[in-house]
Symmetry: C2
Subunit: 575 residues, 2 copies
């Protein structure tokens, strides 16, 4: 048994229990509390982050001598961190060499080392939190939680799913087939779990760790080498991750090139396409645009490709008890990180004739106004608002807000906002427009990534649900939310969610928001619609990352000759 497997076995067992029962569980505290992380952790983490700025990030891996550097904090300053670049060929060559010993180390080493890496990443949660904040634009609390413990949860989930599959394959077996009066045929068989090869993880600029960790750790836990290519604008969180992983590998007596970082500049399209088609790349995990994800799915035939792409998340409002509670919840979902979550809602369907509430019918306009009021309340105080909105990750989102204004009647216009601590931060409040279910179909079936949402007037809830199911199925979706006091409608919404292959949240009015996906309990994505070709994380996400190669050899039977089995006279032509 590998010592790091033994060290973390208890945690692994808890994680296995969690993915089986799928209740709430997390070993990584989401509270940035001194009691949990240590009295000095917060200050030290921030200092460690600041120490990275304007320096060359030390990484003792193959390099071509050039440096990549173009990260700019959405809060308004250049990070100035220079990352050693490398040619894909050099990284593939190094990974191939490192992979020999890694492959031979076997499942318990893969799992134990992955868990040790994760434990150390957890200790770096403050450093990673600040790094996520200043690459993605997330407000600090969210960057800490989603980029730290929640991303670690998803990593642990991937490791647990991997082990759950690996442990089902016996290392060896005794096969003994009765031969009637003759001695049985007996064989000893060995089953060697063989990783596919080298994985390529293509990170995104909004959730580099949360979306990157499942692929990285699913690859490592099944014995693959990994090349991590972050988005050029969000390198630091994954660079820190890779450096920690390399430390653990080296301490374990392994070649750290099992995991390497491919830092690039923005014009990296050609490099990535060439790399993705290399025969050595047998696994690709991608989070990003539908265009790039679909390209990978259709061209990287040598690899298993896991993609999370664009989608259109939807809310169906049919009837409510308390419109204010609904509006508060919806508004929070729209405002959170300025709609830059892959789970953020975009289309909100409201019957044009209004909805029923416990206090009678509420017109379309009143429903719309309630949501707008709730949103305005959230963003009224800039000091509080920025802790919810965060910053806009990149300029194209700002451009998209401008472009979207022309689509329909503006219910709430987007405004720039001043951050009290970061005067140059790119902050824009949400834009909310009214569209029509029939006339504006072409517009709202696209993803308008960012703080852009549509109040869509439908003929009735039946049309809302029909749109929700169809759009999810055809254009992809990661979330669907329904508000109704009518069980028939809830049932119809469940049917629409099955048809659209999308997870459904019902009547969220409290402290859970549709954008949130809890590891060990919620499957993120389903694989059943175009937004993602696999869930995070399930058996299908891990079981394609390795093979079983067997050998068999004759041995002496274990049972007494002639005593086992039926009398057979026929010639056996096939076992």
């Amino acid at each position: 048994m590998h010592p790091l497997f033994t060290k973390h076995e208890n945690l692994l067992q808890q994680a296995l229990a969690a993915i089986e029962t799928r209740g709430y569980w997390s070993p990584f505290s989401e509270t940035p509390s001194p009691k949990v992380y240590g009295e000095t952790a917060s200050a030290e983490g921030e200092a460690t982050f600041s120490a990275h700025l304007n320096k060359t990030f030390a990484l003792d891996q193959p390099s071509n001598g050039q440096l990549a550097s173009e990260e700019v904090s959405p809060f308004g300053f250049a990070l100035g961190i220079r990352y050693p670049e490398a040619t894909p060929a050099a990284l593939i060559s190094a990974a191939t060499k490192a992979h020999d010993d890694w492959r031979a180390a076997g499942p318990e080493a893969w799992i134990g080392i992955s868990l040790e890496i994760l434990a150390r990443i957890n200790r770096a949660s403050f450093e990673i939190g600040h790094s996520v904040m200043h690459t993605t634009g997330q407000p600090f609390m969210m960057a800490f939680q989603a980029g730290g413990p929640h991303a670690q949860d998803r990593a642990l989930e991937a490791i647990a799913y991997a082990w759950d599959q690996l442990r089902r394959i016996p290392a060896e077996s005794h096969w003994e087939k009765p031969q009637g009066k003759n001695p049985p045929l007996a064989m000893h068989k060995r089953y060697t779990i063989t990783p596919r090869g080298i994985g390529l993880v293509l990170g995104c600029c909004t959730f580099p760790t949360w979306n990157g960790y499942p692929g990285i750790f699913a690859d490592l836990a099944t014995g693959n080498a990994v090349i991590v290519k972050p988005h050029p604008k969000a390198i630091l969180p994954l660079a820190i991750t890779v450096r920690i992983a390399r430390e653990v590998l080296r301490e374990s007596g392994l070649d750290p090139n099992v995991i390497t970082l491919l830092a690039t500049q923005s014009n990296d399209g050609e490099i990535v396409q060439d790399l993705a088609l290399r025969p050595e790349i047998r696994l690709i995990d991608f989070t990003g645009s539908t265009r790039n994800g679909t390209w990978l799915e259709r061209h990287a035939h040598q690899a298993q490709v896991f993609t999370e792409k664009a989608g259109v998340n939807q809310i169906v409002i049919d009837s409510v008890d308390d419109i204010k509670a609904v509006a508060r919840n919806v508004a929070f979902s729209l405002a959170l990180y300025s709609g830059q979550m892959c789970t953020a809602p975009q289309n909100i369907y409201i019957p044009r004739d209004g909805i029923s509430t416990s206090e009678g019918t509420l017109s379309f306009n009143s429903v719309a106004q309630s949501i707008i009021d709730a949103l305005q309340k959230l963003v009224a105080d800039p000091v509080r608002a920025v802790e919810l909105l965060g910053a806009i990750q990149n300029e194209s989102v700002t451009q998209r807000i401008k472009q979207a204004r022309a689509l329909g009647r503006v219910w709430l216009d987007s405004q720039p906002l001043q951050h009290p601590a970061f005067p140059e931060a790119r902050i824009h409040t949400p834009l909310v427009l009214q569209l029509d279910a029939t006339h504006d179909y072409v517009q709202f079936t696209q993803e308008w990534f960012g703080p852009i949402s549509f109040l869509i007037a439908t003929d009735a809830t039946a049309q809302s649900l029909d749109l929700a199911g169809t759009i999810a199925a055809e254009h992809g979706a990661l979330t669907l939310s329904v508000y109704s006091t009518d069980n028939t409608i809830i049932h119809a919404a469940e049917e629409a969610s099955l048809r659209g292959g999308v997870a459904l949240s019902i009547n969220l009015t409290g402290g859970v928001f549709v954008n949130q996906s809890a590891a060990f309990s919620d499957f993120h994505g389903t694989g059943a619609n175009p937004a993602a070709n696999s869930a995070l994380t399930d058996a299908a996400f891990v079981s394609r990352r390795f093979h079983v190669i067997q050998s068999r050899v004759h041995v002496a039977p274990q049972s007494a000759d002639g005593e086992v089995g039926q009398t057979v006279s026929a010639i056996r032509l096939n076992s």
Copy 2:
């Protein structure tokens, strides 16, 4: 609990234990014995088969009124069976309609009904055995075993793997997240297993049931509908299978169009390509040529594609104790069903300077001659030989024998053989040629499907193993066999098998042959080389056939307020 699940649950539990321990196990007797199958089963099965001949095969599914009929027994007579044809569009439409209730029936119904279908197929083993014999050319005993109980084993294995994954997903969960001094957040979650849609199973002409059942039953057991398209020359075994499955579905109150047969004529390429790209087809299981399999992998992006294609199976002879035992085993593998098994060896590497034996060095020529002698012994008596060789499935194999003669020195020429019972049977004894490891590389890295094998002179075993690993990795292989008395060589062979991603058999000299693959114990194929992109059967083979769609709704907490969890003051932005 579905009654058919209850009925077969004990069998299912045994199968689950078998795939975990991977020892010998089978619930389906491979002995065509009256004690097992009933006194009259053999005669009745043959009569039922004969009754199909020259009639229209009754199948109450959508049809376009035309009839497909071109099966000819390789034993020399036209079957004359006419199968109702259907347009792919009509079958897709019928499957889509039938799928609603089937999807809703849920995992236990899918499993229970699949197991009941299988139980009835087992009772039809003699009828299916004769059908397999007279479509594939297999000798009867093999047709009975491989086409009957062994194929049923593989089906049960697929069902067991499916259930092993399905049962791991809870139907519901209670999620309760502590909120410090505030009441916990509590949600009830439901997880609905959702099949992908319609599966397409493309059968082959040599093992229509053995290769077809895993996909058919993996699809059914995970709630998918299936369109079964047999090879136009080997329809009957799958037509019987589909008819039995439809009976069970109908008796269970379901629309039998959950499974339909697409009977076609030989010029069906365009129909199949169109069908394979239809958006409703979400799963494809294919056994056949590399050309067609690769086309599917590269074009049917809307589907999960599982392929078994061509490969080059190899034997490395390094050193032996008893050359006669080795030669007997190898010769049997070459002769069995005239090399028309996807697992049959083709390339036999022998050092040109000979090998060491317990009785001293044996020259290349002596090793070759031993194998030839053993083969000649097997085919000397036509009456016995035909029970091993069977018939050549189709004329292109006969043509290939002619073509292969020119490749090198002929050690054993192929001869036509007269079948005592079927004078028109297409029977040809094996052809064995000598090739050179270096000069003839282009020739022996191709699959020469049929009774064609090569004795390949190598510089040394090191070259043999190098070729074996490289050719398996680059050209695909389902089997690799090594003979050596030297543990260093055995170890090197294991390394070559890992590198080639191919299962290894070591020193087979007894009653197990390299062509044989035992369900529940041997993984057939690995997915790790071009011969197959998945193993039969493992978790990866089933886990991609369904999705999990969840819903969540707030409920009352189960724990006392404020008593659970840590004190938290931070605002939570993400669950």
